[in-house]
Symmetry: C2
Subunit: 335 residues, 2 copies
DNA sequence: CTGAAAGCGCTTACAG
DNA sequence: CTGAAAGCGCTTACAG
């Protein structure tokens, strides 16, 4: 790898001159510029990012911290984020949370030591409760997080899960469904995606003037993926007893499992029971019937997150530190 | 962030002493060690990786270059790789190939400038044809690639796709299938995964003493994902005309689509036609019937790849620069 | 056992 | 317009 010094040597100029010309600092003669550019190309010069970092500059590296739950959706989001970050000149490091949350701190310090310019905190299960409980977080650099602000001065992009459910209910009501059920993997903690589902469910029914019935919400025991017992219980409650004609599932995985159960029970989807998923994973289109689901709009998320990160990095006004993304119903065959 | 100097100041020792103790160099008194360790902890010291890199040491950063095709399988593989790399103390950067192959070089140079210790080249569609056609590749650091060696001195982990198909045919034959079809998205270039499928198909039939019939291979036009016309053509050829009682699909996505087609045709799976996928993506278990498929063994791949990388980095004997991974049939309901 | 010093490649005052 | 020099934080001979 060539260095500034090698270009200086080749051109007979000083290192300073070369450095400033390569960073487009004005005030140099065309001839000098030409010479430098030429030499840089010939030596296929690339600034050494370690040296730049050491000097105190930007590394151009960002890190994304993702959880283990729902890996598919996480990676879809990560892919979108990387795409946008790349287009803005950043590279992305991955941090998968491998086991306990104890390593979160480990990750953050590691990222900091590596001089990343910013951290995208996409680890949902962990819901920081403000700076006090998260000592050091705000000191660990520029953070943009998903759903929950990590610190008061950190950016945050929220997905409006509730709005997604409301939209889906509006859609179901339009096609004549009145007995709409909700099935979620867990009750969810305050402000988390699963609780937002319930909120959206209530709001959605209200907006459609459908009476809310508590028993039309089935709540799992927290298992991320349903087993036979979960599915049986869900089916008994929502289909057998409540006679639901439509069910909003926790996510696409639950929805796909539900499709299987309904088929075994000789019920037609969507004629007897309509099913709506969440996440719009790749396989939603491959289900039979193809899954109608709620798309999280990862691209919009990614763009907002990177914008927010750049604002944070340049220390812009801390006014628009929160952006809300609206999910969108994707209609296929199951509802 | 604290530095060696700050620890030296705090303990009254020299920077050298602190540096060497923290890297476990022997020959220091217990008391001195204690003091240094204590101070390091108190100041929550982390070596600055930019400085280390600049000095010429390892960065502890690796990069993975992945393609755009079959993103699901790519990310599954990436996740496994990151897991293993993390457990060995490395962090992973992502490089998604965003559009043209023209950027490959760009990526490699960028990685090199960032001082990554190694590059995992997982971009399948690009099949390097030796060092001549890939000028500079071997000079760009330690590379371990998937399926195709990138340079003569670079490590390579091959997935034995053919063996996977052979295994599946053996399994199908055991359950009485004789009219086995193969459906692939494209003919494939020399040595690529799709050509390997055909090779494995022929070998598998031979091993089971089933006569090879050319018309039982359906070959698509290269489209990664099937559309209605592809599926119709596939169905006509393999099911209608050839009366296949089992079909090996290009991958799980094709298999899932095929399940839909078969159901519409009122054919039972696996009784009338058995279906075998490839990749064992997460949704394979969610298909109805659940997909029997061929698992690529990402964990074994990841372990082998990281081992190879470490060998390459330490310049060990260039003898075992190639490792072959055997895929494995995962039996569910569709076959 | 311990310490002073060079140098990795850059950027940025500062002096000419 | 151009150049000599300091310093980011580390590791590694080298001298004591």
């Amino acid at each position: 790898m060539s260095s500034l010094a090698s270009i200086a040597r080749a051109t007979g100029l000083a290192v300073t001159t070369v450095s400033e010309i390569l960073r487009n600092k004005p005030g140099y003669s065309e001839t000098t510029k030409q010479k430098v550019m030429e030499a840089a190309r010939k030596l296929s010069y690339r600034p050494n990012s370690a040296a730049r970092q050491l000097r105190g500059g930007r590394s151009g590296l960002m890190a994304a911290l993702i959880g283990q739950n729902n890996p598919q959706a996480n990676f879809d989001r990560l892919a979108a984020l990387e795409r946008v970050a790349y287009s803005r000149g950043y590279r992305m490091m991955i941090g998968q949370i491998h086991n306990s949350d104890g390593r979160l701190d480990e990750y953050l310090r590691d990222f900091a030591a590596r001089g990343v310019d910013g951290i995208f905190w996409l680890h949902q299960p962990f819901a920081p409760r403000g700076e006090d409980q998260q000592p050091g977080v705000s000191r660990l650099g520029n953070i943009v997080s998903l759903d929950h602000p990590v610190a008061s001065d950190a950016g945050c992009v929220r997905i409006d899960y509730a709005a997604g459910i409301e939209q889906a209910i509006a859609y179901l009501a339009r096609s004549g469904h009145k007995r709409i059920g909700l099935a979620i993997a867990a009750a969810g903690a305050k402000g988390d995606p699963l609780q937002a589902r319930q909120l959206g469910y209530k709001r959605g029914l209200l907006a459609q003037q459908i009476e809310f019935q508590k028993d039309r919400i089935w709540i799992g025991d927290g298992a991320e993926t349903p087993n036979a017992a979960h599915l049986q219980s869900l089916f008994d409650q929502l289909v057998q007893r409540q006679k639901c004609d439509a069910i909003l599932a926790s996510n696409d995985v639950w929805a796909a499992e539900l499709l299987r159960v309904l088929r075994r029970a000789k019920l037609r989807v969507p004629q007897d029971v309509a099913v709506v998923g969440f996440d719009n994973l790749m396989f939603a289109a491959l289900c039979d019937p193809a899954l109608t689901t709620i798309d999280q709009q990862h691209d919009a998320f990614a763009t907002a997150a990177v914008n927010l990160m750049e604002q944070t990095m340049t220390g812009k006004e801390a006014q628009h530190r929160e952006v809300v993304i609206q999910p969108k119903v994707v209609v296929r065959e199951s509802a």
